[in-house]
């Protein structure tokens, strides 16, 4: 078990966004988290990656207790986060976006004298190919289409090579063709690491999920394989219904 969340609770001004949630994810697993709006899915990821501090509970990742750490420390122990709206560095090129995501020399002095070597260049090229941006290396991220920005952000995570990959609606705003490409991409990159994907698109979830967790009002409603979940009456009631 690589990630183990226990009794996780956070409330904002009395509103309990996540309420006593427990979740564990195995090594090499790709877990999809679904649920209606306001179920607390994004808040869950926010707490895992250090963006939001939980009111109580624990998040164990490998030997680390993530609730005690701040964002960049969580990132450094191997957690990568992709945000719901594509968050790339728009004034930098695709190549530069990938390069600064490379998890070496993250201090001021180290980065001041950092030189890109052949191995890094190779890695950048490889990642760029995987995210279908191999011929766009010198384009500024701000000039990419919405779907390409989503891919670039996934590419930035791949450069970090995280053991735990958190993806918040990776196909939001993508065309059906791009969704298929993304599903293919995720199936390729999720091996060898543990991945949590939040998604609304059921067809997409079906393409990638090993196991699905359904959240409702800050709690886990049902957990299991996609087919079981989809036929569960409680899920149909809160989410899939009508």
């Amino acid at each position: 078990m690589i990630l183990s969340v226990e009794d996780l609770t956070v409330s904002f001004d009395g509103f309990c966004a996540v309420d006593g949630l427990a979740l564990s994810v195995e090594e090499d697993e790709l877990r999809c988290v679904i649920g209606p709006n306001g179920a607390g899915k994004t808040t869950l990821l926010d707490m895992i990656c250090g963006k939001t501090k939980p009111t109580q509970g624990s998040i164990r990742f490998k030997e680390y207790e993530l609730t005690d750490m701040i964002e960049y420390e969580v990132t450094r122990v191997g957690v990568g986060r992709k945000f719901q709206t594509p968050s790339t560095y728009e004034d930098l090129t695709v190549l530069e976006n990938l390069e600064i995501s490379y998890p070496k020399k993250r201090g001021v002095v180290g980065s001041l004298f950092f030189r890109r070597d052949a191995a890094l260049r190779e890695k950048i090229d490889e990642v760029a190919r995987r995210i279908y941006l191999g011929d766009q290396l010198h384009v500024k991220a701000g000039g990419l289409s919405h779907g390409q920005k989503q891919w670039l952000e996934i590419g930035m995570l791949l450069m970090q090579d995280p053991e735990l990959l958190l993806l918040d609606e990776p196909v939001a705003g993508m065309s059906p063709r791009e969704r298929e490409q993304t599903a293919e991409m995720l199936n390729g990159i999720s091996t060898g690491r543990c991945t949590i994907v939040i998604e609304h698109d059921m067809a997409f979830v079906r393409m990638i999920a090993h196991k699905v967790t359904v959240m409702h009002q800050g709690k886990v409603l049902v957990e299991g394989p996609m087919d079981d979940v989809q036929s569960d009456p409680r899920v149909i009631e809160v989410y899939l219904g009508d």
């Binding site: 250090g50 990132t75 450094r76 560095y89 004034d91 600064i100 766009q136 390409q148 970090q160």
Partner: protein, 391 residues
Amino acid sequence: MTVTGQRDRAREAVGLLVLVALLVPVPFLLDDFRQQLAAKYLCFAFPAVGLVLLWGYGGILSLGQGLYFGMGSYFMAMFLKLEAAAQTNTGSALSQFYGSNLPDFMVWNSVESLPWWWRPFHSLTFAIATILVIPPLFAFLLAYANFRKRVGGVYFSIITLSLAAIASIVIIGQQGYTGGVNGITDFKTFLGVDILSNSVKRVLYFVTLGVLLASVLAGRALLTSRTGKILVAIRDREDRVRFSGYNPATFKAFVFAVAALLASLGGALFALQEGLASPSLVGIVPSIEMVIYAAVGGRLSLVGTVYGTLLVFTAKTFFSENFPEVWLYLLGALFILVVMFLPTGLAGLVERLRWRPRARPVNASAAGPALARPARAEIDAPVEVRGGRPA
């Protein structure tokens, strides 16, 4: 529009060469008075170059660079003043009386012995070390303390502004130790060399020019390094940078320290050539003027900002000599015009005139309709001071 693209690099190189071609002949073409003015302008280009790094690329607007300029000028002035005190006749007469060489303003203020923190400034090495170390160190600690607590944007600008104001008030208040409102002035020699002679002034002019060019090149090296990319990333999306595994506070504090070092260098060279360290160069007004130099030149262009500084000062001199009653209004109008019509300053204007017609979509074969957008629309918006974190 960043220094990182090849085209931009070529443009910066041309700008730099033209600048050298314009400034090298100055001492040979202009009279001594004008040469001295030019040297003074160059000193103020240092803090402006620092502001390009800090504000243009780091997204941190400091309204208090006068503080660091002041530190540099006062540290240099303290050394020069002690040397002057040791040489003058009055100095030696007083020294017999008090048992040590006191600067004249201390005598006037009935300070009877040299304060302990003045003493090490007898040594040039010590003075230079303080000029190079204290301002960046102070700046780093100040900035780190704030940025670690995620105090940024307007709030940080106000902190820098108030520090500059406080410093100038303290200097004025502590007349016996700082020379008060008159500042520290009336220097004669630098290591025994007469700094008032024209030939020495000419040498100092070239030293200033050389250090300035070296600073511009160092700034460019910084911007093209990985650190430079991270700074741009922090400017545009600080929250995201944390999730790339960086601590933005260290990088922001670092660039603030670099800007402080540049300001300090400018201040030290200013004191050496103009023979003055004054609280009027420390407070709010000079600090804001430094921001204006950077804005006029173009806050994204290291070379452009040197032109900006020279232009603003030349305009100031020209207007004040020719239109003594209204010169301040004319200067104000110039600033308003630049801010309204040239958000990227002179450098942006040059870019628009020279390069726009040749710009074309980056890679026509590859992409989405978004690619057809001109590649330089990006800087007009995001650099302004951004608000602090929502509570």
